[in-house]
C-alpha cells in the first residue's frame, strides 16, 4: 500500500473510535428514553436529533445548556452520568490521536512518504549517497555545483539534521534508515531511470560489500562507487561487477610512486582533478632513508612502493599489542613502539633519515610524531596522513611539508569517476605512463594553452553536437582537427590539445588531430582556454559555423 502512514493511524485509532461511538450511543439512548418536563400539557421526550445535538456539545465540553426545554430531574441525573462517560471517551480519543501523531513509527512513516514523493519528483540525473559525513558532504556539494541532484540515506538522526540545516539548493532529500536496507535503497530511487550512480564510502569494508551486493541485485545497471581498503575486498567487488572501486591507500601509494619517479605526472593529475595549475611545483620526495610510522593498510602499500624503488625504510608500528598479528618475517623487520615517541624515533635512526611519514589513523599522534622528529633532526622532510578534514587548519599551521588526505582523494576520485568518467579514464591511463611522457605533455600544454588550461568534454551525438552529428551520419569524413580551427579565421588554429578520444571499445590517448576522423558517438576530452572552447561548442552545434571552418562558405 502506498499510504502506510494513514493505515497505521487508522489502525491505532480503532479502539478510540469504538469508545466514542459506544459512549455516544449509551448517552443518546438514555436521553431519548427519559421523560422530559411537561409542555402544553404533554410530556416532552427528546427526539434522536435533540439527543445527538445535546451529546455532541456536551461531550466536547462546549455546553450550550439545556435545550430544547429545561430538563426534568431524571434527565439531569442521566446527564450528570453521561457527561463523565462521553467526556472521558472523547478525551481518550483525542489523546490517542495526539500520541499517535507523536509516535516515532508514525513520524518515520510520514517522513518516508515525503521522501519518496521528493525523490519521485526529481526529473534530473541524480546520485544516491549513503551516509552523511565530512567526505560525502563535500561530494554532495560538488555534485550540486555540477548540476546534478543528490539523495542521501543516513541512519544517525543528528547527522541527518545536519544535512537539513545545510539548506542545499536544489534540495537534497534525506531518508533516515539503515543504509543496507533494500527497501531504503528502493525508496531512494535506485530503480529510477534518472539515478546515475550510488556512492558508498564507509570505513567498514564489509558494509560496503553488503551494499554493493544489495545494489547490484536491485539494479545491475547503476554504476557503483565503492570504497575498498584491501586487495581481497577489491577482488570481491570486481567479481560483483562494481564499476568504480576506490582504494584510498592504493591511490596514496600511486601518488608516492609519482612523486618519487614522475613529478610531472603528479602535476598533471592534480591539475585534472582541479586542485592546482600546471605551474605549481610538485612536492619532491628526496632520496635516502625513510621512517614510516604506522604499519596498517596504508603502511603496507607504502612499503610496496618503497621496495619497488629500492628505498631504504624503517617501519614503526605504533601499537605494540598488535605484534602477534604480523608474520614472523614482518616481526623481525618492523620496529614496535614499546617506549615513548622520542626514544622510538631515535631507535629508528631519525638523525640520519631524510623523510618521515606519519601514517597512523590518529591525527594527533601524527602531528606530535612529526614535531618530535623535527626536534631530533631539523632537516627532515615531514609527511603526514590527515584523517579528518576538520583538522585541516591544524595541519596547515604545523608547517608539514606534505599532507596526504585519504578522504580528500576519495572525494576527487568519486566526482571524477561518476560525473566525468572520461577524465577518470584519462587519469587511469596517464598514471601508467612515465615521466618523459608527462613532461612532454606538460610542456606542450604550457606552450600551447598556458599555465591553467580548462578541460572540456565533447560528445559527438545529436544532443551535444548537432551539426557535427548530422554530417557524420551523412558519411562525410570530418577530421578532429576541424574543431581546432578559429571561427574568426579558418586558417588559424586555436590553442587546443586533445587529451583523449573514446570510441565504443577503443581509446586513443593524445590522438593525432590531423589523422583521426570523427565518428558518431565519440567522446573527446580537450584541454584549452575559454575562447577556444566556445569556438568548439559553436562549430559542433551550428551548421553555418561548421560550414565556414570546413571552407564551404565565407
Amino acid at each position: 500500500m502506498k499510504n502506510s502512514s494513514l493505515w497505521l493511524l487508522l489502525q491505532k485509532m480503532r479502539v478510540p473510535f469504538i469508545v466514542i461511538v459506544v459512549t455516544y450511543t449509551i448517552a443518546i439512548a438514555g436521553l431519548i428514553s427519559l421523560d422530559g418536563i411537561e409542555v402544553d400539557g404533554k410530556i416532552y421526550r427528546m427526539t434522536i436529533f435533540d439527543a445527538f445535538y445535546f451529546v455532541t456539545y456536551t461531550a466536547t465540553t462546549i455546553g450550550f445548556g439545556e435545550v430544547p426545554y429545561t430538563f426534568s430531574y431524571p434527565q439531569r441525573m442521566w446527564v450528570s452520568a453521561l457527561i463523565y462517560i462521553t467526556v472521558i471517551g472523547w478525551f481518550y480519543g483525542i489523546g490517542s490521536l495526539l500520541s499517535i501523531l507523536q509516535d516515532k513509527l508514525f513520524i518515520s512513516e510520514i517522513k518516508k512518504t515525503a521522501f519518496r514523493k521528493k525523490v519521485r519528483k526529481i526529473r534530473e540525473d541524480f546520485f544516491i549517497i549513503l551516509g552523511y559525513n565530512n567526505v560525502t558532504k563535500k561530494i554532495v556539494g560538488k555534485m550540486l555545483a555540477q548540476g546534478y541532484r543528490a539523495v542521501v540515506i543516513e541512519k544517525n538522526p543528528d547527522r541527518a539534521n545536519e544535512l537539513v540545516l545545510e539548506n542545499y539548493v536544489p534540495s537534497v532529500p534525506i531518508l533516515e534508515a539503515d543504509i543496507y536496507d533494500p527497501k531504503a535503497l528502493e525508496l531512494a530511487g535506485i530503480k529510477s531511470k534518472y539515478c546515475k550512480g550510488l556512492v558508498s564510502l564507509f570505513e567498514n569494508d564489509n558494509l560496503n560489500l553488503k551494499i554493493a551486493i544489495t545494489a547490484k541485485i536491485l539494479n545491475s545497471k547503476i554504476p557503483l562507487a565503492i570504497k575498498s581498503t584491501t586487495k581481497h575486498m577489491t577482488e570481491n567487488l570486481e567479481d560483483l561487477g562494481v564499476e568504480i572501486i576506490e582504494n584510498p591507500f592504493e591511490i596514496i601509494s600511486q601518488q608516492i610512486q609519482m612523486l618519487l619517479t614522475a613529478p610531472s605526472l603528479y602535476k598533471l593529475v592534480r591539475w585534472m582533478h582541479g586542485r592546482g595549475d600546471l605551474r605549481t611545483m610538485a612536492f619532491h620526495l628526496p632520496e635516502g632513508k625513510y621512517i614510516i610510522c604506522g604499519y596498517g593498510r596504508m603502511g603496507h602499500e607504502i612499503k610496496n612502493v618503497l621496495e619497488k624503488n629500492n628505498i631504504d625504510a624503517v617501519f614503526i608500528e605504533m601499537d605494540a599489542t598488535k605484534k602477534n598479528t604480523f608474520s614472523k618475517k614482518e616481526q623481525g623487520e618492523i620496529l614496535f613502539k614499546d617506549a615513548d615517541d622520542k626514544e622510538v624515533l631515535l631507535q629508528a635512526g631519525t638523525e640520519d633519515a631524510v623523510a618521515i611519514i606519519a601514517g597512523s589513523k590518529d591525527d594527533t599522534t601524527n602531528l606530535s610524531l612529526l614535531s618530535i622528529a623535527r626536534k631530533i633532526n631539523p632537516n627532515i622532510v615531514t609527511i603526514a596522513r590527515e584523517n579528518d578534514i576538520e583538522n585541516q587548519a591544524l595541519f596547515h599551521y604545523a608547517n608539514i611539508n606534505y599532507v596526504f588526505m585519504p578522504s580528500r582523494l576519495l572525494i576527487y576520485k568519486t566526482i571524477a569517476a561518476l560525473i566525468d568518467p572520461i577524465v577518470d579514464k584519462f587519469i587511469a591511463h596517464a598514471v601508467k605512463q612515465d615521466e618523459t611522457w608527462a613532461k612532454e605533455l606538460l610542456g606542450m600544454l604550457k606552450a600551447k594553452v598556458g599555465d591553467n588550461p580548462s578541460i572540456y568534454k565533447l560528445f559527438v551525438d545529436d544532443q551535444h553536437a548537432r551539426a557535427l552529428a548530422e554530417r557524420i551520419k551523412r558519411k562525410e569524413s570530418i577530421k578532429l582537427e576541424t574543431l581546432t580551427r578559429s571561427r574568426a579565421n579558418r586558417d588559424e588554429r586555436n590553442p587546443i590539445v586533445a587529451l583523449l578520444l573514446l570510441r565504443k571499445d577503443e581509446l586513443y590517448l593524445l590522438p593525432d588531430m590531423s589523422e583521426i576522423t570523427l565518428e558518431y558517438g565519440d567522446q573527446i576530452l580537450f584541454a584549452s582556454d575559454r575562447d577556444a572552447i566556445e569556438d568548439i561548442e559553436y562549430i559542433a552545434e551550428n551548421i553555418h559555423e561548421l560550414a565556414y571552418v570546413l571552407g564551404e562558405r565565407n
Partner: protein, 126 residues
C-alpha cells in the same frame, strides 16, 4: 476460537440484520419503519466499519469499502429524515421512499460485506 473474529463477525452480521429490520416494510409508509432501529443500525455499522479499519489485505480493503458505502447511505437517510422533519414538520411519501430506499442500498452493501466475510472464513484453513 478467535475472539477478534467473533467480535467483528458479530457486528458485521448485526449491522446487516438491523439494516434489514429497518428496511423491511411498506416503502411509502414511514409508520412501519422505526427511527430507533435506524439509529441502532447506524451505530452498529459505524462500529463494524471501525473494526475493519487498518486491515491492509485485499479482502480487508474491499470489506472496508462496503462498510463505508453502508455508513454513507444510512447517515444520508438519517440526515434527510432529520432535515425534512424539522423544516417541513412531517415526512411526505416522496421523502419517505427516499429514506427507505437509501437504507435499502445500505442493506445491499451490508449483504455484500457479509458474503465476503463468509467467503473469507470458508477460504481460511482453520
Amino acid at each position: 476460537m478467535n475472539f477478534d473474529k467473533l467480535i467483528s463477525g458479530f457486528f458485521i452480521i448485526l449491522a446487516m440484520t438491523l439494516n434489514f429490520g429497518f428496511f423491511y416494510g411498506d416503502l411509502s409508509n414511514i409508520e412501519l419503519h422505526s427511527k430507533y432501529e435506524l439509529f441502532a443500525a447506524i451505530v452498529v455499522n459505524l462500529i463494524a466499519t471501525t473494526l475493519k479499519i487498518g486491515d491492509k489485505t485485499q479482502i480487508g480493503s474491499v470489506l472496508l469499502a462496503t462498510s463505508l458505502v453502508a455508513d454513507i447511505q444510512l447517515i444520508a437517510a438519517a440526515t434527510i429524515w432529520t432535515i425534512v422533519y424539522y423544516t417541513a414538520g412531517a415526512l411526505d411519501t416522496h421523502t419517505t421512499s427516499v429514506v427507505i430506499s437509501l437504507s435499502g442500498g445500505a442493506l445491499l452493501a451490508n449483504i455484500t460485506s457479509v458474503i465476503l466475510y463468509i467467503g473469507e472464513t470458508i477460504k481460511s484453513k482453520r
